[in-house]
């Protein structure tokens, strides 16, 4: 298991790797575990016990901002310009892609998950109004906050 940045081939940076994650009851945590750590396959792999479980995406953000040893995963909207985003390639040999609303929506950036809204039967009344809002005005807000809006 890689423990220091130098092991990873980063010259001149003999620093320990500090792993950050969301709390175990977070959907983001489960998604990352299943899709990134286990690479979508059945396995018994888990986050290392050394992983710091931060109370929220902002907690991850804050530690990354001030600790050069830290690496973590976060929702796109939580990333600020002073943080470094890593490019990810779908398979070995593929080009590395940085995340953005566009690269997520056209599938080039592989680490993304959809959020679903469930209703009991066809949406009606206040529920329908709420969903209409999300699909309409809400998309603009989502984009403004830095998250990824739906494509049609």
């Amino acid at each position: 298991m890689l423990k220091r940045y130098e092991d990873e081939g980063r010259q001149g940076e003999d620093r320990p790797i500090v792993l950050l994650s969301r709390e175990s009851n977070s959907g983001t945590y489960v998604y990352f575990l299943e899709e990134v750590i286990r690479l979508g396959e059945e396995s018994e792999l888990l986050f290392s016990p050394e992983t710091l479980l931060m109370p929220s995406s902002e907690g991850i953000s804050a530690e990354i901002r001030q600790n050069p040893n830290a690496i973590g995963y976060d929702g796109l909207g939580y990333v600020t310009p002073d943080q470094k985003m890593l490019g990810v390639a779908k398979d070995a040999g593929d080009p590395y892609v940085l995340p953005s609303a566009d690269t997520v929506n056209d599938g080039a950036y592989p680490i993304s998950r959809e959020l679903f809204m469930y209703t009991a039967g066809e949406p009606q009344g206040a529920v329908k109004a709420y969903l209409d809002y999300i699909l309409g005005e809400g998309q603009g807000l989502i984009k403004a906050l830095g998250f990824v809006p739906l494509t049609d």
């Binding site: 931060m54 109370p55 929220s56 902002e58 953000s61 804050a62 909207g77 600020t80």
Partner: protein, 295 residues
């Protein structure tokens, strides 16, 4: 008393012993400074970084822009409501229990059981109170996450503090007060209510204030029983949720992206000011009445 320790021994002894003593005293001073200076530093840092955020709008305004602007009035109100609720429940039971222990109870197994229970309650971790409050008030009694559930939880948590300090205050009143009252024909309760209680009142009030300020500053008991982060309006009934300062500080410092630093420190400052001013009040009451004491 330090006075007696000023007596210099007749035999001056070797200079070495005094050198050791000087060194030792210096260590003690160092230790005390190590204790005290960080306290000043914490308060200082919060004041310096939080003061820029303080304004009438910050204190009395409603939050806006996802909490990143506007005021924290609902959190302040929430904390005041929870503290008031705690007081309403904990003071009668606490003072009543203290009266029982100081004035009525014999030294039986049952009384020792009560004392054991008080020690126990005082030691229970705040998060365990949160679990209890969740299990009993929120779920079992179906109050839901509400001011009622939160205040009841905080009240039970504050009970041991109030009972202990109130009992001590009652016991500090010399026996003579009671004997004189009895010799004048007063019943036991008349003695208590007319003589002992008023004499013990400053001590009791001090204890109550100290207990309440701890209740107001707690986060873990209200995490699962009442606290909410962003409520559009102030609570209207005891069954509503409410915001609260300690929980608010926790959330804005760990969960909200892009929260301006000065708002975090500003919230911490408001909480600190609230708590410390109550602390000051309690100290002042205690010192003032200590001088006016009739024994």
């Amino acid at each position: 008393m330090p006075g007696s320790a000023r007596i210099q021994p007749a035999n001056a002894g070797s200079a070495r012993r005094y050198a050791v003593q000087r060194f030792g005293f210096a260590l003690l001073v160092l230790a005390s400074l190590l204790v005290v200076i960080p306290i000043l530093f914490v308060i200082g840092a919060i004041v310096v970084r939080g003061l820029p955020a303080i304004s009438l709008e910050f204190i009395f305004g409603m939050p806006s822009d996802g909490m990143k602007a506007g005021g924290i009035w609902p959190a302040i109100v929430g904390t005041l409501l929870l503290t008031a609720g705690t007081a309403i429940v904990a003071i009668p039971i606490g003072v009543g229990g203290a009266i029982y222990l100081a004035e009525y109870a014999h030294d039986t197994m049952l009384t020792r059981a009560i004392r054991l229970a008080i020690v126990n309650l005082a030691g229970i971790p705040s998060v365990v109170y949160g679990l209890f409050g969740l299990g009993l008030f929120v779920l079992f009694l179906n109050f839901g996450t509400s001011i009622l559930a939160g205040a009841l939880t905080l009240a039970i948590m504050t009970l041991p503090v109030i009972i202990s300090t109130a009992e001590e205050a009652l016991r500090a009143v010399p026996v003579e007060f009671r004997t004189v009252s009895a010799s004048l024909g007063g019943t036991r309760w008349q003695g208590i209510s007319n003589i002992v209680l008023p004499q013990a009142l400053p001590g009791i009030i001090t204890g109550v204030i100290l207990g309440l300020l701890r209740a107001g500053g707690e986060t873990a008991p209200i995490l699962f029983t009442v606290a909410a982060f962003y409520l559009p309006s102030l609570p209207r009934s005891p069954l509503d949720q409410t915001m609260a300062l300690p929980y608010h500080l926790y959330v804005i410092s760990t969960q909200v992206p892009g929260m301006p630093e000065k708002i975090q420190y500003g919230t911490a400052l408001v909480l600190l000011v609230l708590v410390l001013s109550l602390n000051l009040l309690a100290s002042w009451i205690r010192n003032y009445y200590r001088r006016k004491r009739q024994w």
